[in-house]
């Protein structure tokens, strides 16, 4: 597997809290993409961060990428109950490939 064991986790927090999810990868990549998958739905892309970027923001979301340690994080500030979902990071296999390799995901539950 190209993903570290720390990817497999479940987090339960209260609405309004901030949360950070991490993932690590083993194979070279040119992009890391973060997706959110709500129950019974397909994944929806949240942020795409390229290997020459260290940080990217979108609304309440912030993604970071550290290519030297081959790790990425996704932070959500001021969580809402509607943020409850499984969050995946994915890489383009060995860089420049069209296929996405997904991590196992973090199941985030936000209680109101």
């Amino acid at each position: 597997s190209q993903w570290g064991e720390e990817n497999l986790q479940a987090l339960s927090i209260q609405e309004g809290e901030d949360v950070t999810m991490n993932c690590s990868y083993k194979t070279y990549t040119t992009v890391v993409q973060w997706y959110r998958q709500k129950s019974g739905k397909g994944p929806a892309q949240l942020i795409l961060i390229r290997s020459n970027e260290r940080e990217k923001r979108s609304g309440r979301l912030r993604a970071t990428l550290d290519t030297s340690s081959q790790s990425s994080s996704l932070s959500i500030t001021g969580t809402l109950a509607t943020d409850t979902a499984v969050y995946f990071c994915a890489t383009d296999y060995q860089g420049g490939s069209a296929k996405l390799i997904f991590g196992e995901g973090t199941k985030l539950t936000v209680s109101s």
């Binding site: 992009v31 993409q33 397909g42 892309q45 069209a98 296929k99 390799i101 997904f102 196992e104």
Partner: protein
């Protein structure tokens, strides 16, 4: 935003039968993908398709699998014959360029 549609949402068939899963990708997209997700597990890449040809496929894309997009219509995944281990949710995705894939809601395939 752009939407990928998948038909049907749920298909139940007997082992050994043929099944065709249909995907209506975003209209101007050029790259098409199928992914497989077994309940509770991570999403896994099956195949991608561009300019009428398979570009990459994984070891999960068995000889019984085929894909096509005749005349710009549905992008289809055909499994013939089906096996019990083919039971999963199959997600179609499309993208205009490499990166930034839009996913459909999935087709749940149950092979009895």
């Amino acid at each position: 935003g752009p939407k990928v549609l998948q038909i049907p949402s749920h298909q139940i068939i007997d082992m050994g039968q043929m099944v065709t899963l249909n995907c209506d990708p975003v209209s101007n997209h050029l790259y098409f993908y199928w992914y497989k997700q077994i309940l509770g597990q991570q999403m896994e890449f099956l195949v991608n398709f561009y300019n009428g040809k398979v570009m990459e496929k994984s070891k999960l894309f068995k000889d019984q699998f085929s894909v096509e997009r005749p005349d710009g219509s549905y992008f289809t995944l055909k499994i013939q014959p089906t096996a019990l281990e083919d039971s999963a949710v199959y997600f179609c995705a499309s993208s205009l360029r490499l990166g930034g894939q839009y996913f459909g809601p999935g087709t749940r395939l149950t092979v009895l």
